[in-house]
């Protein structure tokens, strides 16, 4: 077994595209669930809204990339209003069912043959991100990386990937500053109060329903930004990437880091991908070097272990450590109301 490459892959995964995208999506989910206590099981729907918003605006309508980014964000706002206005008056699990259903509606519609010329069917939309990479100061053929002095381990990325990662992590930092300011403002205190006791908030004369709608919009827009980074980073929008499993991957990353803290979703996303990359590296090498017997696991099944692991991990976290690594149990919206 080549442990060096396994560890290198794991550390690389902490900074790679998946970690950025998850960090952004989890920051959005943290506003929903961590601060307001909303059960949004359709975060992937917001991500798809952002990604398809950009993709359709640039390829189908041929608009300027800046306009396309605005379209992606507006798509998320509209989706949040459609989801939130009817369901946020109801009990929490209704929002859960409606969001998960809507994210599936979006995926099935985007991949359908009837909308093929619009959203590209099951092949998705490709080659819309060229304008973004035209601005890149990096040479696509050259590998860039940061060398840590004294440690013989260098993580390098090709120019285009380095460019989207740079932008992505800058977005993460900007969002963290935004969230910090937002939740310590009066607006953020109302959200937390809704999480703790919605009736008390109403008794104090605040329109809890409208604050919940706003929270859904803000977190959803952040999720859409995550979807845009994902689609620009992979230079494609594939409908089946935006399946419900992705939502629960983000949930697991969020809960792993700890809900209700500003920066914990970012740490959660990084640790999540380190763990996934590490186990997958070990399994893959085990299969390739025939340490693991063929009847037990083969190359295709290695990819499926990820889902089983995340599912069990989500259960274990909620049972044994619902506050995650850095969270505070008193800041959890998981008690019955």
């Amino acid at each position: 077994m080549d442990w060096g490459s396994i560890f290198e892959g794991a550390i690389r995964a902490a900074f790679d595209l998946d970690a950025v995208v998850f960090a952004i999506a989890a920051i959005g989910l943290n506003i929903h669930f961590g601060y307001t206590g909303l059960l949004n099981f359709g975060q992937v729907g917001f991500m798809a809204a952002g990604a398809y918003g950009v993709g359709i605006a640039t390829t189908y309508f041929g608009w300027n990339p800046w306009v396309a980014l605005v379209v992606g964000i507006l798509a998320a706002v509209v989706l949040a209003l459609i989801l939130g206005l009817p369901t946020l008056r109801l009990r929490a699990d209704y929002l859960a069912i409606v969001t998960i259903a809507t994210s599936e509606i979006l995926r099935l519609s985007f991949r359908s043959v009837s909308l093929r010329e619009f959203s590209g069917g099951s092949n998705g939309i490709n080659g819309f991100a060229n304008a973004f990479y035209a601005w890149s100061p990096f040479d696509p053929q050259v590998q860039y990386g940061i060398r840590i002095p004294g440690i013989d381990l260098s993580i390098k990325f090709f120019g285009n990937r380095a460019w989207i990662l740079l932008i992505g992590w800058i977005v993460v930092v900007a969002l963290l500053i935004f969230v910090r300011l937002a939740v310590s403002s009066p607006w953020g205190r109302v959200l937390k109060a809704i999480r703790e006791d919605e009736d008390a908030v109403r008794a104090l004369g605040k329109n809890a329903y409208w604050f919940k709608v706003q929270s859904l919009i803000v977190g959803g827009v952040i999720g859409a930004i995550g979807g845009m980074v994902l689609s620009i980073g992979t230079q494609t929008v594939q409908p089946d990437v935006y399946s419900t499993s992705l939502t629960f991957f983000v949930w697991t990353a969020l809960i792993l880091g700890g809900v209700g803290r500003t920066w914990s979703p970012v740490i959660g996303a990084m640790i999540f991908w380190v763990l996934l990359s590490f186990t997958e590296g070990v399994l893959r090498q085990g299969v390739e070097n025939n340490y693991l017997p063929d009847w037990l696991i083969d190359g295709v099944q290695v990819g499926q272990v990820r889902f089983i692991m995340v599912g069990l991990g989500l259960c274990a976290l909620l049972i044994f450590r619902p506050q995650g690594i850095f969270g505070d149990r008193n800041e959890m919206a998981l008690e019955d109301r």
Binding site: P86, T87, W251, Q304, F307, M309, P322, L334, E335
Partner: protein, 469 residues
């Protein structure tokens, strides 16, 4: 762990618990051993592989593999290799690069070897020019269309009385299948307040266990019964397989409550946490099914293809009629059980007011474990009947689950009768909607009703207002 010795709770005894768990585990292990063998294959050569999958869309919009089609690969006049697509429609040909980084090859699909009625969507794109690279290999994509299916898409689109009736009949069948699953979901929600996202996996579990016994197990063990009973005939195997699957589903459902959800309740874990836990569980179980059972859809050995019978203007296969009959009988029986029997009344009492039920002497935990058991049986039956009409897949339950939610929400969460009515409406709506929209979008329609009903009448058709706020 012995609780009170006073209550006559047979199901609490360690023996039963162990039996539930060990039977479930043994079946899973056996399935892993049996189905795992088929996947054992390795490629010794180091050459990059040119691969592809041949599939054709059926009338449901699902992709079905096309086996036994010849594919040849050549580079100019230089023939590189030939192969035949496998059972799952895939083909792989190693392409030697002779030291180069990449090589452009011509991939030809022999059109004579396609099954009757299946044609290339784009005959000009045969042979395909594919670049095979040292690192990533290459992919050849051939678009295939089934003439018959494409014709039904094209021709049978008018709104005629016959089609409305035909689709309504199919809708009733789908609605009854959904109702079986919905009743269990609704009962668990009623008694414990839990929205169980892992209910879809109980649907799949029933179908998978039945498939397992049908294909591997019961054929050897009870096969002599099938031959010996003239009433059931040669195809009777599935009946025994289904009965075995229902018994195992009953034990599994109770095991889920006993070993997971009762413990969570005891630890004082809130309903919201439990809901997220069911999601994690659903994902873990679903992908375990994929791991063991693999991705391709399979049919039961018996009654896979049946000739339709004309009933007035509509045509239904005998198995569809059996499906409708069996689900109606089971649903009525379940309804009567809830209305008339002691345990049924206890279930309704717990659903109505748990504390009051407990203080009037009902053993609430026993009621809940039985609700899980019966819910799992109903879900398993719905899975078996769905698998009989369509096919058995690792994620069939998850695909059905959102439609089941639509039915349950439409009827009103927590009411058994509402679940039945809601599911029927959803089933008929899904099928009849294909008159106007493409079949691949029919589940979108069902999900849209789910969203719309929450806007218009969140408590559902038959629900009570106080459950929603």
């Amino acid at each position: 762990m012995r609780r009170r010795a006073v209550g006559r709770t047979v199901l609490d005894k360690p023996f039963w618990s162990k039996l539930c768990a060990s039977v479930t585990f043994a079946i899973l292990l056996a399935m892993l051993l049996v189905t795992g063998q088929s996947g054992a294959q390795s490629d010794a050569s180091d050459d990059p592989v040119l691969q592809g999958t041949l599939s054709v869309r059926d009338s449901e919009g699902e992709k079905n593999p096309v086996p036994d089609v010849s594919i040849t690969v050549a580079d100019g006049a230089d023939s590189i290799g030939a192969t035949v697509s496998g059972e799952d429609g895939t083909f792989e040909i190693p392409v030697p690069l002779n030291g180069a980084e990449e090589r452009v090859v011509a991939v030809t699909l022999e059109e004579d070897t396609l099954p009757n009625g299946v044609n290339l969507r784009n005959p000009d794109r045969n042979p395909l020019q594919i670049t095979v690279r040292a690192q990533s290999g290459g992919r050849a994509v051939f678009g295939l269309d089934d003439e018959a299916v494409e014709n039904t898409y094209a021709a049978d689109t008018g709104v005629t009385m016959r089609r409305v009736l035909q689709l309504s009949a199919e809708g009733i069948k789908l609605g009854l299948i959904l109702a079986l699953a919905a009743m269990g979901l609704s009962l668990v929600f009623g008694t414990t307040g839990l929205v169980n996202f892992a209910h879809g996996e109980m649907i799949t579990w029933g179908a998978l266990v039945a498939f397992f016994f049908n294909a591997y197990g019961l054929a050897g063990i009870f096969g002599f019964l099938a031959g010996g009973l003239p009433l059931i005939g040669t195809g009777g195997n599935l009946v025994f397989a289904a009965i075995a699957a229902l018994i195992i589903a009953f034990l599994t459902g109770m095991a889920m409550d006993r070993f997971i959800f009762r413990r969570l309740r005891r630890r004082g874990i809130g309903l919201t946490s439990q809901l997220v836990i069911t999601i994690g569980l659903s994902m873990a179980i679903r992908y375990s099914f994929l791991y063991v059972f693999r991705g391709d859809p399979r049919s039961f050995k018996d009654w896979a293809v049946q000739k339709g019978v004309d009933i007035g203007p509509i045509t239904l296969a005998p198995k569809d009629l059996w499906t409708i009959g069996i689900s109606l009988v089971v649903l009525i029986a379940a309804g009567l059980m809830l209305q008339r029997t002691r345990i049924g009344k206890a279930m309704r009492a717990v659903a109505d007011n748990r504390d009051l039920a407990a203080s009037s002497g009902i053993d609430v935990e026993r009621v809940i474990i039985l609700v899980w058991g019966y819910g799992a049986v109903l879900a398993a039956l719905s899975g078996i009947l769905f698998g009989l009409g369509e096919s058995v897949r690792w994620d069939m339950g998850f695909r059905l689950l959102l439609m089941v939610f639509a039915g349950v929400t439409l009827g009103g969460l927590g009411t058994a009768f509402g679940a039945l009515v809601g599911s029927l409406v959803v089933g008929i709506f899904i099928q009849v909607s294909t008159l106007f929209i493409s079949p691949e979008l029919k589940s979108v329609g069902a999900l849209l009703i789910l969203v719309l009903i929450l806007v218009a009448r969140p408590q559902g058709i038959l629900g009570q207002k106080e459950r929603i706020g």
